[in-house]
Symmetry: C2
């Protein structure tokens, strides 16, 4: 059948009002996922899944991105074969003021070898 050339696989994202504190904390409690968020935060621009540095296999990486997306922490979209990732920082700040930023601040410091 004539599948349009611009198939543009889409990705489902939760409305942040449907995301619970529990979900966000569960997403951020895993050090690998915190690492991903941190890299995304530092990059200052969207990053494709493959450009992240993480000590896990590709399939595990997919799992972590799914968790982050379902927790409303990141937004994902396809760009060719690549799946791009963006932080939903502003929305998160509105939904859970200070939460993501304080975690990222603390994560940055520990990543800097301060402790």
């Amino acid at each position: 059948m004539a599948r349009p050339r611009t198939a543009a696989r889409t990705v489902e994202h939760p409305d942040l009002s449907d995301v619970s504190l529990q979900q966000v904390l569960e997403a951020l409690v895993d050090p690998v996922r915190r690492g991903l968020v941190l890299q995304l935060s530092r990059a200052g621009e969207d990053k494709s899944c493959g450009t992240f540095d993480a000590p896990v296999s590709p399939s595990t990486l997919t799992h972590h991105f799914n968790v982050l997306r379902e927790a409303g922490v990141i937004r994902q979209y396809y760009q060719g074969t690549a799946k791009m990732n963006t932080l939903r920082a502003d929305e998160m700040e509105r939904r859970f003021p200070g939460l993501l930023s304080s975690v990222m601040t603390a994560a940055t410091r520990s990543a800097a070898g301060v402790a």
Copy 2:
């Protein structure tokens, strides 16, 4: 042997500089523990373990208090047969600025039935 009348069982507390972000997040990710911290925060004064409202057995409660103490979130001391609990809010604020407060704010809102 002549054990002093003021035996005063003591409790070990970590220096907050020895506490990692990971530990704190793991402590706060459990809803029961968040509930305990929230009740302590609201009380405005020290509370003994037995005065908390939690849907778990006494032995499990002990476990949760241990986790919170080892994560530096609370301070504990004996007062007769009771074990009292205090929030180490100020210290936590210095070690992880905004973290505990943002989690508590969010927890308060969800507890208020906002979502």
